[in-house]
């Protein structure tokens, strides 16, 4: 489904990605863990070209992303992105947040886009919040709207960048629940997270990123029980 080959990215002098390669198959759930600053967000942002990699290849179903930069808007529709800070549009209701993509990028009619928004907001448990503005929603509710907004484009793959890191502890569960449901529905996902219990539960594979490379790539039971690399062990002993 998605292939990443030898990705490099620097910000000025700072080499953030130094040869990242991986493959994610359809309906796979891959969790990315690693210390802050190890390049997890940059990796994720390169996947939908919010950052342009310096070198390397990204292919989705055989289509090379960087060679199709002109069609980037089309390609991005196939990838949903959920941000740590939600990034909801404060000038729009939950419904409009979700409907904006379908109506503008997919050319859907207002009524259809609105109906899709309602259906998706119900799916994430916010049927009663469709006409609220973001400032009237809790963090957990905001993040669920953001997930519905990404789903509204009918993506083939969902990218999550620490979706629960900005939440109060009591709201983490409701967001993870929605993501788990997506996993059960067979959505392909790459999830950067610090929730190790969650990763263990939903991930098919866990990638440990360290200093701009994927240092270890293994199923969760292996990476959490008997990591191969010393660095992985060190990191896990700090967070578990």
């Amino acid at each position: 489904m998605i292939d990443v080959i030898d990705l490099y990215k620097s910000f000025g002098e700072l080499e953030v990605l130094r040869g990242v390669s991986t493959h994610v198959g359809r309906s796979q759930v891959v969790c990315v863990i690693g210390a802050s600053g190890s390049g997890k967000s940059t990796f994720l942002r390169c996947l939908n070209l919010l950052e342009i990699p310096d070198r390397g290849r990204i292919t989705i179903d055989g289509v090379e992303l960087m060679e199709h930069r002109k069609q980037i808007n089309k390609l991005r529709r196939k990838m949903g992105m959920v941000f740590q800070q939600f990034n909801l549009f404060p000038n729009m209701t939950a419904r409009s947040n979700v409907a904006l993509g379908p109506s503008q990028a997919l050319g859907m009619s207002r009524a259809d886009a609105s109906a899709r928004a309602e259906a998706l907001l119900s799916k994430v448990g916010l049927a009663d919040k469709v006409d609220e503005f973001p400032n009237r929603l809790s963090g957990g509710q905001k993040q669920r709207v953001a997930i519905a907004r990404a789903l509204a484009m009918g993506p083939d793959i969902m990218l999550f960048d620490e979706p629960t890191s900005a939440l109060d502890p009591e709201m983490v569960g409701e967001v993870l629940q929605v993501i788990k449901q997506l996993a059960q529905d067979g959505m392909t996902m790459i999830i950067v997270t610090h929730e190790m219990g969650f990763a263990r539960e939903v991930a098919d594979r866990v990638l440990f990123m360290d200093q701009g490379v994927i240092a270890e790539d293994a199923p969760p039971e292996r990476i959490f029980r008997s990591p191969e690399k010393e660095r992985t062990r060190e990191f896990l002993s700090k967070v578990l």
């Binding site: 919010l50 808007n73 991005r76 529709r77 992105m81 941000f83 990034n87 549009f89 990028a105 990404a150």
Partner: protein
Amino acid sequence: MEGVLYELTNSLYINLIREERYLMLIRGLRVTLEVTLYSVLLGVIIGLITAVIRITEPKGLVRLATAYVEVVRGTPVVVQMVIIYYAILGGSNLPKVLIASIAFGINSGAYVSELIRAGIQAVPRGQMEAARSLGLTWTQAMRFVIVPQAIKNILPALVNEAIVLIKETAVVGYIALDDLTRAGNIIRGRTFDAYTPFLLVALVYLYTTTTLSIFAGKLERRLRESD
């Protein structure tokens, strides 16, 4: 005490009532407000164009836009106005109010373009990223997400720009336009009273700017509430 009171009423009478001089102040205020209004409108149009050029950076035009802002910000507005009046538009038959408005509009446009740029830059980066990650084009993201939020930042600043213009246009007397300040000056010349006319002029300016300033505050609060 009685003497002071008598002097005050007397000078008010001479400077305000006799020969219906208050009418001069009212007409002057009208000119000041007209020039301000037209200047703001023109300034917004020019500022918008300039801001768009500076943000989208089309080849060739960026330097022009930057040079315009530099020239306007680097020279006194009264000099700009006099040059525009005598060297550029003096030969035309345009009314002086319009010529002054063009001069102040051009001047204001440079500042407004900065307000617009700042207002857009104040919208968090994540907003553009979220919009683009949905597959929206840059233009769609600007139109539906960034600009509506930027307007909330910009509107109160525009009212403040109007307040600045009300005061700055006090120099239109240089091209013999009878605004509020010049009306005060004319009264001074007729009554040989050095400061009472200007005291009255100051009060009228203060009343006008304070009213607008209160409006700007209310506007800002309203816009912030709906965030």
